[in-house]
Structure formats: structure tokens, C-alpha cells
């Protein structure tokens, strides 16, 4: 129960931050990304504000043996800078500029029960499923050792 309440409130806090900052407004996103037009640099300050708070607190958190309510800290599984990272990030960027939603704001907007965010989130889930399907097929073809080489977790 304590866990559930904490997770719900934590998600809600994240959502309030997204709404307050303007990340849930596609018009604001387009204004920020439109560097060659009439540029609205506001959203750069979202990232700055978030990092200013999270960088010191995350450093403190990682010095603990274990989290307050959970068994262990999630490990950062990937460390390599490779084509997969760049291609994936590039595709994500095109999707963000095309739709005006990154994943968090898309979910907040979905809560508002609009058709537009619903369509985008459905597409997102299909995209995620397609990735895992392709990964499973590839693993079948090449055997379990190949995933060690490619770094797929």
C-alpha cells in the first residue's frame, strides 16, 4: 500500500511538472523546435531545472545501500555509444517533431481523453511491440550468445 501510494504520487508529481513546464502543449514544443522561425526557447529551461534538482539528489541516492521502499537500485544497462543509440534517438526525434509529444506528455495528454494523444499512444505501443518482436526474431535466428555481443539486454 505504501508502495502504491508513493508510486502514484511520484507519477502525479512528474505529470504536474510536465503540465506546468509546457511540455504537454504540442504548440509549445513546435515553438521550441522551430529554431529558424519564431523561436521560443522556454523548454530548454525545463531540462535545466530538472537537472539542477536531480543531479545532486541522484548522486546522494546512489550512495545509499538500497532504496527506501525497494530491494535494489536499477542498473544502467547500456554504456556504449553506437549506431543503435544514434539511429534510435534520431527516429525518436523525428517522431517528437512530427507529433509534438514525447512519451511522458503523451501519457498525461492521454488522461485528458483526447483523440489525438490516444492515436499517438497507440502508435507508440505498436512501435515498442514491433521492436521487441524484431529483437525476439533476431535472437531466435542467431542464438542467445549473439545478444551478448550486440549488447541487447
Amino acid at each position: 500500500m505504501k508502495n502504491v501510494l508513493s508510486l502514484l504520487l511520484c507519477g502525479a508529481l512528474f505529470g504536474v511538472g510536465l503540465v506546468l513546464s509546457g511540455m504537454t502543449l504540442p504548440s509549445k514544443i513546435f515553438g521550441f523546435l522551430d529554431v529558424t522561425g519564431r523561436w521560443d526557447p522556454s523548454l530548454a529551461f525545463v531540462m535545466l531545472g530538472a537537472i539542477a534538482v536531480h543531479a545532486p539528489l541522484a548522486w546522494l541516492a546512489r550512495r545509499r545501500e538500497r532504496p527506501l521502499l525497494g530491494p535494489s537500485f536499477e542498473l544502467v544497462r547500456f554504456t556504449r555509444i553506437d549506431g543503435r543509440l544514434v539511429l534510435g534517438s534520431a527516429l525518436f526525434g523525428v517522431g517528437w517533431g512530427l507529433g509534438g509529444y514525447c512519451p511522458g506528455p503523451a501519457l498525461v495528454a492521454l488522461g485528458s481523453l483526447g483523440v489525438e494523444p490516444l492515436v499517438l499512444v497507440l502508435g507508440m505501443l505498436v512501435g515498442v511491440a514491433a521492436f521487441y518482436l524484431r529483437q525476439a526474431r533476431r535472437r531466435e535466428r542467431t542464438g542467445p550468445l549473439a545478444s551478448l555481443v550486440t549488447g541487447d539486454a
Binding site: G11, V16, V19, V35, L85, S89, G93, G95, G127
Partner: protein
């Protein structure tokens, strides 16, 4: 290039960002989890996923804000949650596919790489952030230049 000073709200943006940072810190302190929304969501879809309940509760919190926000602040937020006629449903579907597939291939989005990754000075996340900012900007530029701003 010109600056859009009418809509420039750095303080409000930074305050919202600070709340996002606070939430990400809480998730790490209390639950040991990295607040990458694309990763948390994907864990619901991934066949070998653990901790589905944990992920669901966090994401429900996000959804709840949209639900309550749209009711209580309908005038301010309701209509603007949508791209207000500048994007067709087909474009949004393709956008969603790209966001879903791309964030799994690149292992993160604006929150995972942009907030959590940069907060631990990860070079990998810096490469990801620079890359998606560039392609997102380029996409908006192309839509503005060749499609009259809506697609």
C-alpha cells in the same frame, strides 16, 4: 531566426522542470528506479518484463494528472493538449510508431536520456539528446518550410 518573446516563460518552465527532477529523485530514492518514461512504459509491453504493477502505478499517476487537469483547468489546458489542427491523425500515428520504436532502439527519451542521463553526466545520453534535438528540429523545419506548418 527571431525570438518569440510573447510565449517565453523561462521561470515557469524551470519550475516545472524542478518538479520533474524532484519526481525522478523520489523514484530513485524510494524505489531505485530510473525515471525514463519510455522505458517504464515499454516494460509493460516487454515479454520478459518484471515489475509490471510498479510501472502501472507510476504511469497511472501521470494519466491522473491529465484526467484531473483537463477537467479542472479545461480552459487553460484542455484544447492545448492537442496539436490544434496542425497534425492529422495519420501523422500522429506515424509519430507514435517512431517514438515507440526509436526510444527502444536508443534506450531512452527526453526523460531517460535528457533528465536522468544528463544528470549523471552520461556521454551516451548527451549523444542521444543532441541527436534527437537535431532531428526533431529538422522535422519541424521541413514541415514548416515544405508543408506550410501542418501535416
Amino acid at each position: 531566426m527571431s525570438l518569440d518573446l510573447e510565449n517565453f516563460e523561462p521561470l515557469r518552465a524551470a519550475l516545472g522542470g524542478a518538479l520533474i527532477g524532484l519526481s525522478a529523485s523520489w523514484l530513485l530514492f524510494a524505489h531505485g528506479r530510473i525515471a525514463g518514461i519510455s522505458g517504464i512504459l515499454a516494460g509493460l509491453v516487454e515479454p520478459r518484463s518484471t515489475s509490471r504493477a510498479e510501472r502501472t502505478w507510476f504511469l497511472l499517476g501521470l494519466l491522473l494528472v491529465g484526467l484531473v487537469g483537463a477537467q479542472v483547468f479545461a480552459a487553460q489546458f484542455g484544447a492545448e493538449f492537442a496539436p490544434s489542427g496542425r497534425r492529422s491523425l495519420g501523422a500522429l500515428l506515424v509519430a507514435g510508431l517512431l517514438v515507440g520504436y526509436g526510444t527502444r532502439l536508443g534506450n531512452g527519451c527526453t526523460s531517460g536520456h535528457g533528465v536522468c542521463g544528463l544528470s549523471r553526466f552520461s556521454q551516451r545520453s548527451l549523444v542521444a539528446v543532441v541527436t534527437f534535438m537535431l532531428t526533431a528540429g529538422l522535422t519541424v523545419f521541413v514541415i514548416g518550410r515544405f508543408f506550410g506548418g501542418s501535416v
